[in-house]
Protein backbone atom coordinates (compact mmCIF):
# COMPACT_ATOMS: atom_id res chain seq x y z
CA UNK A 1 0.00 0.00 0.00
CA UNK A 2 1.54 3.29 -0.99
CA UNK A 3 0.39 6.48 0.70
CA UNK A 4 0.88 9.49 -1.51
CA UNK A 5 2.19 12.62 0.19
CA UNK A 6 2.54 11.27 3.71
CA UNK A 7 3.18 13.68 6.53
CA UNK A 8 6.52 14.63 7.96
CA UNK A 9 7.30 15.84 11.48
CA UNK A 10 6.82 19.20 13.11
CA UNK A 11 10.60 19.28 13.30
CA UNK A 12 10.54 20.38 9.65
CA UNK A 13 8.77 23.60 10.69
CA UNK A 14 11.87 24.82 12.54
CA UNK A 15 13.17 26.78 9.54
CA UNK A 16 9.91 28.33 8.32
CA UNK A 17 8.86 29.31 11.86
CA UNK A 18 12.28 30.81 12.58
CA UNK A 19 11.25 33.60 10.21
CA UNK A 20 8.67 34.66 12.77
CA UNK A 21 9.65 33.36 16.22
CA UNK A 22 12.77 34.20 18.18
CA UNK A 23 12.82 30.87 20.05
CA UNK A 24 13.15 27.38 18.59
CA UNK A 25 9.55 26.42 18.00
CA UNK A 26 10.11 22.66 17.70
CA UNK A 27 10.21 22.40 21.49
CA UNK A 28 7.09 24.50 21.98
CA UNK A 29 4.58 22.48 23.97
CA UNK A 30 1.06 22.12 22.61
CA UNK A 31 -2.14 20.63 23.98
CA UNK A 32 -4.83 19.50 21.58
CA UNK A 33 -8.17 21.04 22.54
CA UNK A 34 -10.04 18.08 20.99
CA UNK A 35 -8.32 14.89 22.16
CA UNK A 36 -6.08 16.26 24.91
CA UNK A 37 -2.84 14.93 23.39
CA UNK A 38 0.16 16.92 24.52
CA UNK A 39 3.72 17.15 23.28
CA UNK A 40 6.28 19.27 21.52
CA UNK A 41 5.55 20.89 18.19
CA UNK A 42 8.25 18.60 16.74
CA UNK A 43 5.82 15.68 17.07
CA UNK A 44 2.94 17.19 15.13
CA UNK A 45 2.22 15.75 11.70
CA UNK A 46 2.99 18.18 8.91
CA UNK A 47 1.42 18.08 5.45
CA UNK A 48 2.60 20.15 2.52
CA UNK A 49 4.77 22.01 1.64
CA UNK A 50 2.33 23.21 -1.05
CA UNK A 51 0.01 25.07 -1.13
CA UNK A 52 0.92 25.57 2.52
CA UNK A 53 2.20 23.74 5.60
CA UNK A 54 -0.54 22.24 7.74
CA UNK A 55 0.47 20.89 11.15
CA UNK A 56 -1.99 18.52 12.77
CA UNK A 57 -2.37 16.74 16.10
CA UNK A 58 -0.67 13.34 15.96
CA UNK A 59 -3.56 11.87 17.94
CA UNK A 60 -6.66 13.13 16.16
CA UNK A 61 -5.61 15.21 13.12
CA UNK A 62 -7.02 18.47 14.45
CA UNK A 63 -5.28 21.42 12.80
CA UNK A 64 -2.70 22.99 15.14
CA UNK A 65 -1.27 25.59 12.79
CA UNK A 66 -0.99 26.55 9.14
CA UNK A 67 1.76 28.43 7.40
CA UNK A 68 1.45 29.92 3.92
CA UNK A 69 4.48 31.50 2.27
CA UNK A 70 4.49 33.80 -0.72
CA UNK A 71 7.43 35.90 -1.82
CA UNK A 72 8.06 38.37 1.02
CA UNK A 73 5.13 37.33 3.19
CA UNK A 74 4.34 34.52 5.57
CA UNK A 75 0.81 33.96 6.89
CA UNK A 76 0.48 32.13 10.19
CA UNK A 77 -2.82 30.72 11.41
CA UNK A 78 -2.97 29.09 14.81
CA UNK A 79 -5.64 26.40 14.89
CA UNK A 80 -8.42 25.87 12.39
CA UNK A 81 -10.09 28.82 10.72
CA UNK A 82 -9.59 31.70 13.10
CA UNK A 83 -7.84 34.07 10.73
CA UNK A 84 -4.21 34.51 9.83
CA UNK A 85 -1.47 36.94 10.73
CA UNK A 86 0.59 38.14 7.83
CA UNK A 87 4.26 38.74 8.55
CA UNK A 88 6.60 40.52 6.21
CA UNK A 89 9.44 37.99 6.34
CA UNK A 90 11.69 39.23 3.58
CA UNK A 91 13.07 42.74 3.11
Amino acid sequence: MTEVSPHVDGNSLAGPLSDIFAVDMTRAWWRCPDCGSTGPLAELHVYGPDPGLTARCAGCDRVALRLVRHEQDTWLTLGGAEGAFRFRTAP
Binding site: Y47, D50, P51, D61, R66, V68, H70, D73, W75, T77
Partner: protein, 201 residues
Protein backbone atom coordinates in the same frame (compact mmCIF):
# COMPACT_ATOMS: atom_id res chain seq x y z
CA UNK B 1 27.52 35.37 -13.74
CA UNK B 2 25.97 34.08 -10.58
CA UNK B 3 27.44 31.01 -8.92
CA UNK B 4 24.29 30.53 -6.85
CA UNK B 5 22.75 27.17 -7.80
CA UNK B 6 23.70 27.34 -11.51
CA UNK B 7 21.56 25.15 -13.70
CA UNK B 8 18.63 25.09 -11.26
CA UNK B 9 15.41 25.94 -13.08
CA UNK B 10 12.81 24.65 -10.67
CA UNK B 11 10.10 22.96 -12.62
CA UNK B 12 10.25 24.15 -16.20
CA UNK B 13 8.26 27.31 -16.66
CA UNK B 14 7.66 28.05 -20.30
CA UNK B 15 7.11 31.53 -21.63
CA UNK B 16 6.27 30.41 -25.16
CA UNK B 17 2.93 28.87 -24.43
CA UNK B 18 -0.34 29.84 -25.85
CA UNK B 19 -3.08 31.99 -24.47
CA UNK B 20 -4.29 28.95 -22.54
CA UNK B 21 -1.70 29.50 -19.83
CA UNK B 22 -2.67 32.00 -17.10
CA UNK B 23 0.01 34.42 -15.86
CA UNK B 24 2.70 32.87 -13.69
CA UNK B 25 1.76 29.28 -14.59
CA UNK B 26 3.78 26.54 -16.34
CA UNK B 27 2.36 23.50 -18.14
CA UNK B 28 2.86 20.02 -16.72
CA UNK B 29 2.10 16.51 -17.90
CA UNK B 30 1.95 15.06 -14.41
CA UNK B 31 -0.84 15.48 -11.90
CA UNK B 32 0.81 16.45 -8.61
CA UNK B 33 -0.95 15.55 -5.37
CA UNK B 34 -1.06 18.28 -2.75
CA UNK B 35 -2.28 17.49 0.73
CA UNK B 36 -3.30 19.39 3.82
CA UNK B 37 -4.15 16.30 5.83
CA UNK B 38 -4.55 12.54 5.75
CA UNK B 39 -6.30 11.11 2.69
CA UNK B 40 -9.84 10.05 3.66
CA UNK B 41 -10.97 6.63 2.41
CA UNK B 42 -14.68 6.96 1.75
CA UNK B 43 -16.55 3.82 0.65
CA UNK B 44 -19.18 4.55 -1.99
CA UNK B 45 -21.66 2.46 0.06
CA UNK B 46 -21.74 5.14 2.76
CA UNK B 47 -20.98 8.18 0.57
CA UNK B 48 -23.60 10.91 0.33
CA UNK B 49 -23.72 14.37 -1.20
CA UNK B 50 -25.95 16.89 0.56
CA UNK B 51 -27.10 20.39 -0.39
CA UNK B 52 -28.36 22.45 2.54
CA UNK B 53 -30.14 25.73 1.90
CA UNK B 54 -30.12 28.86 4.04
CA UNK B 55 -33.47 27.78 5.50
CA UNK B 56 -32.07 24.40 6.53
CA UNK B 57 -33.74 22.38 3.80
CA UNK B 58 -31.66 19.41 2.75
CA UNK B 59 -31.38 17.51 -0.48
CA UNK B 60 -29.22 14.35 -0.39
CA UNK B 61 -28.00 11.78 -2.91
CA UNK B 62 -26.47 8.39 -2.29
CA UNK B 63 -23.76 7.16 -4.66
CA UNK B 64 -26.24 5.20 -6.76
CA UNK B 65 -28.73 8.07 -6.86
CA UNK B 66 -25.97 10.41 -8.01
CA UNK B 67 -24.95 7.97 -10.76
CA UNK B 68 -28.58 7.76 -11.90
CA UNK B 69 -28.57 11.50 -12.69
CA UNK B 70 -27.60 12.70 -16.19
CA UNK B 71 -23.80 12.32 -16.57
CA UNK B 72 -21.62 14.74 -18.48
CA UNK B 73 -18.20 14.15 -20.00
CA UNK B 74 -16.09 17.30 -20.23
CA UNK B 75 -12.52 18.38 -20.95
CA UNK B 76 -10.83 21.26 -19.11
CA UNK B 77 -7.55 22.98 -18.43
CA UNK B 78 -6.88 23.06 -14.69
CA UNK B 79 -4.67 25.53 -12.86
CA UNK B 80 -3.08 24.96 -9.46
CA UNK B 81 -2.04 27.95 -7.36
CA UNK B 82 1.36 26.25 -6.95
CA UNK B 83 1.92 27.31 -10.59
CA UNK B 84 1.31 24.13 -12.57
CA UNK B 85 -1.37 23.97 -15.22
CA UNK B 86 -2.58 20.83 -16.92
CA UNK B 87 -4.29 21.00 -20.28
CA UNK B 88 -7.14 18.88 -21.61
CA UNK B 89 -8.02 16.91 -18.51
CA UNK B 90 -11.01 14.64 -19.09
CA UNK B 91 -13.68 14.22 -16.44
CA UNK B 92 -17.06 12.58 -16.01
CA UNK B 93 -19.68 13.56 -13.49
CA UNK B 94 -22.83 15.48 -12.75
CA UNK B 95 -23.25 19.17 -13.49
CA UNK B 96 -23.99 21.29 -10.43
CA UNK B 97 -26.85 22.70 -12.50
CA UNK B 98 -28.46 19.27 -12.29
CA UNK B 99 -27.90 18.95 -8.54
CA UNK B 100 -29.14 22.45 -7.78
CA UNK B 101 -31.96 22.38 -10.33
CA UNK B 102 -34.94 22.18 -7.96
CA UNK B 103 -33.27 23.71 -4.90
CA UNK B 104 -35.07 26.87 -3.77
CA UNK B 105 -32.61 29.49 -2.54
CA UNK B 106 -31.88 33.19 -2.42
CA UNK B 107 -28.37 32.56 -1.05
CA UNK B 108 -25.49 34.15 -2.91
CA UNK B 109 -22.66 31.96 -1.62
CA UNK B 110 -21.76 28.32 -1.29
CA UNK B 111 -19.71 26.82 1.54
CA UNK B 112 -18.24 23.57 0.25
CA UNK B 113 -17.33 20.88 2.77
CA UNK B 114 -15.50 17.59 2.41
CA UNK B 115 -14.87 14.28 4.13
CA UNK B 116 -11.76 14.91 6.24
CA UNK B 117 -12.89 18.41 7.19
CA UNK B 118 -11.63 20.47 4.24
CA UNK B 119 -13.74 23.51 3.31
CA UNK B 120 -13.73 26.10 0.55
CA UNK B 121 -16.10 28.84 -0.57
CA UNK B 122 -17.30 30.61 -3.69
CA UNK B 123 -20.18 32.70 -5.00
CA UNK B 124 -23.08 30.41 -5.91
CA UNK B 125 -23.08 31.77 -9.46
CA UNK B 126 -19.64 30.22 -9.98
CA UNK B 127 -21.19 26.79 -9.55
CA UNK B 128 -24.00 27.37 -12.06
CA UNK B 129 -24.45 27.70 -15.82
CA UNK B 130 -22.18 24.84 -16.83
CA UNK B 131 -19.19 26.05 -14.79
CA UNK B 132 -18.93 23.29 -12.16
CA UNK B 133 -19.30 19.52 -11.80
CA UNK B 134 -19.33 16.81 -9.17
CA UNK B 135 -16.85 14.42 -10.82
CA UNK B 136 -16.12 10.75 -10.07
CA UNK B 137 -14.17 9.68 -13.18
CA UNK B 138 -10.83 11.02 -14.42
CA UNK B 139 -9.42 10.03 -17.81
CA UNK B 140 -11.81 7.09 -17.99
CA UNK B 141 -10.96 5.66 -14.55
CA UNK B 142 -12.61 6.00 -11.14
CA UNK B 143 -11.10 8.97 -9.34
CA UNK B 144 -8.42 7.77 -6.89
CA UNK B 145 -8.54 8.81 -3.21
CA UNK B 146 -5.32 10.83 -3.67
CA UNK B 147 -7.03 12.96 -6.29
CA UNK B 148 -10.19 13.35 -4.24
CA UNK B 149 -12.13 10.18 -5.00
CA UNK B 150 -14.71 8.86 -4.79
CA UNK B 151 -15.94 12.28 -5.91
CA UNK B 152 -14.59 15.81 -5.98
CA UNK B 153 -15.88 19.16 -7.01
CA UNK B 154 -14.53 20.53 -10.29
CA UNK B 155 -14.60 24.30 -10.80
CA UNK B 156 -11.99 24.67 -13.55
CA UNK B 157 -12.22 28.44 -13.97
CA UNK B 158 -10.86 28.97 -10.44
CA UNK B 159 -7.56 27.78 -8.91
CA UNK B 160 -7.72 24.08 -8.16
CA UNK B 161 -7.93 24.40 -4.35
CA UNK B 162 -11.55 25.48 -4.97
CA UNK B 163 -12.23 22.10 -6.60
CA UNK B 164 -12.62 20.42 -3.22
CA UNK B 165 -11.48 16.79 -3.01
CA UNK B 166 -13.65 14.21 -1.18
CA UNK B 167 -16.57 16.61 -1.38
CA UNK B 168 -19.61 15.70 0.71
CA UNK B 169 -21.85 18.70 0.33
CA UNK B 170 -22.65 22.37 -0.07
CA UNK B 171 -24.23 24.81 2.32
CA UNK B 172 -25.90 27.73 0.58
CA UNK B 173 -25.36 30.86 2.64
CA UNK B 174 -26.35 34.52 2.46
CA UNK B 175 -22.84 35.52 3.57
CA UNK B 176 -19.48 34.40 2.28
CA UNK B 177 -17.68 31.98 4.64
CA UNK B 178 -13.97 31.72 3.81
CA UNK B 179 -12.72 28.11 3.85
CA UNK B 180 -9.55 26.22 4.79
CA UNK B 181 -6.99 28.00 2.60
CA UNK B 182 -9.00 31.21 2.26
CA UNK B 183 -8.65 31.80 6.02
CA UNK B 184 -4.92 31.04 5.91
CA UNK B 185 -3.62 33.56 3.39
CA UNK B 186 -5.02 32.42 0.06
CA UNK B 187 -7.26 34.62 -2.05
CA UNK B 188 -10.97 34.49 -1.34
CA UNK B 189 -12.01 34.11 -4.99
CA UNK B 190 -8.96 32.67 -6.78
CA UNK B 191 -9.20 33.62 -10.46
CA UNK B 192 -6.07 32.31 -12.25
CA UNK B 193 -6.42 34.84 -15.07
CA UNK B 194 -6.22 37.72 -12.62
CA UNK B 195 -3.54 35.90 -10.62
CA UNK B 196 -5.55 36.04 -7.42
CA UNK B 197 -3.26 33.82 -5.38
CA UNK B 198 -3.03 35.40 -1.94
CA UNK B 199 -4.71 38.00 0.24
CA UNK B 200 -4.15 41.36 -1.35
CA UNK B 201 -3.54 40.04 -4.88
Amino acid sequence: MSSLSPGFHGRRRSTSLTDRLPPGQYPTESFPVLSAGPTPRVPTETWTFTVTTETGEERSWTWDEMLALPQEESVHDIHCVTRWSKFDTRWRGVSLDTLLDDVETTAEYAAVHSYGGYTTNMPLEDLLDGKAWLVHTYDGYPLSPEHGGPARLLVPHLYLWKSAKWVRGLRLTPDDEPGFWETAGYHNYGDPWREQRHWGD
